[in-house]
Symmetry: C2
Subunit: 348 residues, 2 copies
DNA sequence: TTTATTTACGCAATCGTTCCCGAAAACGAT
DNA sequence: ATCGTTTTCGGGAACGATTGCGTAAATAAA
């Protein structure tokens, strides 16, 4: 049950020198003779010495680890973001600690508390649905903990941010539907607390307005938990279908929202795209396999993870406090497939 | 940039008592007067004191964290397992540190090294494809670090293991295909290094044999990286299709393998299930949305994560060394959909 | 009152590492 | 030979927390 690791003391004892000398030799200090240095290095090699990161963390008050807070990893977008995060962090010698909030504010508070006490050197945060009050993050930010937001950001905290051009993604998706002859476009979207919701709904509205179509608020259905609870989506779709003027297309603004919508339609026996067209934000790898192949707004998730991590490390490793923050906006890609293309030859 | 946390010393100073007293008061020791205890508790509350886990880890040589090693999290099965792991660990006060090997042996070695030096109290491992030599794990195991394997296990190390009944999953899938009139069943499977490969291929073979069909080794195609590299799957499917006797069904033994196979078929214009049937191990949430709805062997991933974690914590928290290990075998579920059902009315 | 026993707390070591400071030895300059 | 520098190394404190041991004061027993 014990787990005895080789320490600096063991080397010191083996060589009959002090721990200070060993430490300096390993750290490649100038105030050490080449011979002693070599001796220590050899001995460390022989004993398979590994510095104890915990002791280092305690001493240096940094852990060479960064915390990632997302709502859930079982989501294509976030798991791809995490891959991007790791690809950078790993190379730069940082460890990544992931925590999931499952869209709960309480868990976000606890997770953040934990990560902070664990001395992470910085934080990569995508807010959870329930989060409205940001004091738990502000207090960490005010204490000087480097934070970068991605995807679900907030304007209340001034720091680096990485997002996709949500407005444009939504605009393009909506316009694509309009071009294909749809006029009554329903929206399935997330909680109103989230930045992505506002940006995406705004893009949708703008596309309508520019095409001379009046926005009907009844067509905009919010799912508070973004589809984590399936019934939420069923309800939202029901509400869309009980409008006096049933929509002829649905735009879903999230991964779970999109697939949940498709499931609901399928179970109801609604044909896509014959009865209704569907476009959704999604990073699924199998959009082409879906029946019908799904038109998606795809985010450069991996790149977003990379960018956010680079910005964070820059914050962490900067000597002097950074006051000039950047909002990096990446470009989403509309991948057009059959789910949004009205078949003209289909006649009732 | 500094991040000053409240320590036990701050409380001691504020109250004019020693750190020992504070520590004991917080730990609810009996040798502390009720008044002092209350004083300390109040002060701790007021200053918002949080014990420093790093200092605790150093002192107690345990971190109340467990390490998880998987090939990748952007995989339905593994992200669901991780959810199961977290659901237990979280309640029991353990933190989960996830690392991805991306199927690389070298990364597995490094990740494990890192987790060990980080003083994780235990390890949950699913081996990576490339891993053939187990010395890096054995050495940790021999030093007494609690380890539980799941999914991709090894017989070389004696400890708890959690798997699904892979033999049965494959047997059921194959027999299902046989019952539907298929006789020439190709297999897309993982590296021969992996336990899951052997178990699943064995189940497949047994089903054939029991039905009086001779096993044709040419029908069994291994993808070394389990489909992480798409071309691998294309090649394998090609090989299957250039047999003198083209298969009339494909059984894929992994998530990526299954979706990759479907993509390849779709791009080749091969119709499922008209031209060929497909069954695969997969934990995707949208099997029903695929064209055609996909017959899958689904693993109770969440439950597997829970079970593995419970076994690990039992190992970690046991007073005396455990010598009696358990292999927990859970039941996979064959979910039958259209991809494996030959349409009888289809005539050439 | 004296002695024995609790009670309640402080001191200091410990975990593994770094680093400031002091000092011995070696070297060069005078 | 003497002094000043430089090189090279050791001692010990510090990071935050726990804990064995020692001990003064309070209480109980004689």
């Amino acid at each position: 049950m014990k787990f005895e690791a080789v320490t600096i003391k063991d080397i010191a004892k083996a060589l009959g020198i002090s721990t200070s000398t060993v430490s300096r030799a390993l750290r490649d200090s100038h105030e050490i003779s080449p011979e002693t240095k070599q001796l220590v290095l050899d001995c460390a090699e022989k004993l398979n010495y590994r510095p104890n990161p915990i002791a280092l963390s305690l001493k240096e008050r940094r852990s060479r680890s960064i915390g990632v807070v997302v709502c859930e990893i079982a989501n294509n977008f976030f798991s791809q973001v995490i891959n991007g995060i790791e690809s950078i962090a790993y190379d730069r010698g940082y460890n990544v600690i992931i925590s999931q909030t499952r869209e709960s504010y309480d868990r976000e508070v606890i997770d953040l508390q934990y990560l902070a006490s664990r001395s992470v050197d910085g934080l990569l945060i995508s807010l959870s649905t329930e989060t409205n009050d940001l004091n738990h993050i502000k207090s960490l930010h005010n204490k000087g903990l480097p934070i970068v937001f991605f995807d679900r950001i907030t304007e209340e905290i001034n720091t680096h941010k990485v997002i996709v051009d949500n407005f444009r993604g939504a605009y393009d998706a909506t316009e694509h539907l309009l071009r294909n002859g749809h006029r009554k476009i329903g929206v399935l979207t997330n909680s109103e607390f989230l930045s992505i919701t506002h940006e995406r709904v705004a893009g949708y509205k703008e596309a309508l307005i520019r095409n001379g179509i009046k926005v009907d608020e009844n067509y905009i259905q919010h799912c508070f938990y973004g589809g984590m609870i399936f019934e939420e989506i069923e309800d939202a779709v029901n509400k869309l279908f009980t409008q006096k003027n049933k929509p002829d297309a649905i735009f879903a603004t999230g991964d779970k929202l999109t697939t949940g919508c498709l499931k609901t339609l399928k179970r109801r026996g609604v044909k896509v795209p014959d009865d209704i067209s569907v476009v959704g934000f999604s990073n699924t790898d199998i959009a082409e396999l879906i029946d019908p192949p799904l038109t998606v707004v795809r985010q450069p998730a991996f790149e977003m993870g990379k960018a956010a991590t680079e910005l964070l490390l820059q914050l962490i490793e900067s000597k002097r406090p950074i006051k000039d923050f950047e909002k990096r906006i990446m470009t989403p890609e509309l991948q057009i497939r059959e789910s949004s293309i009205r078949k003209m030859e289909t006649v009732e």
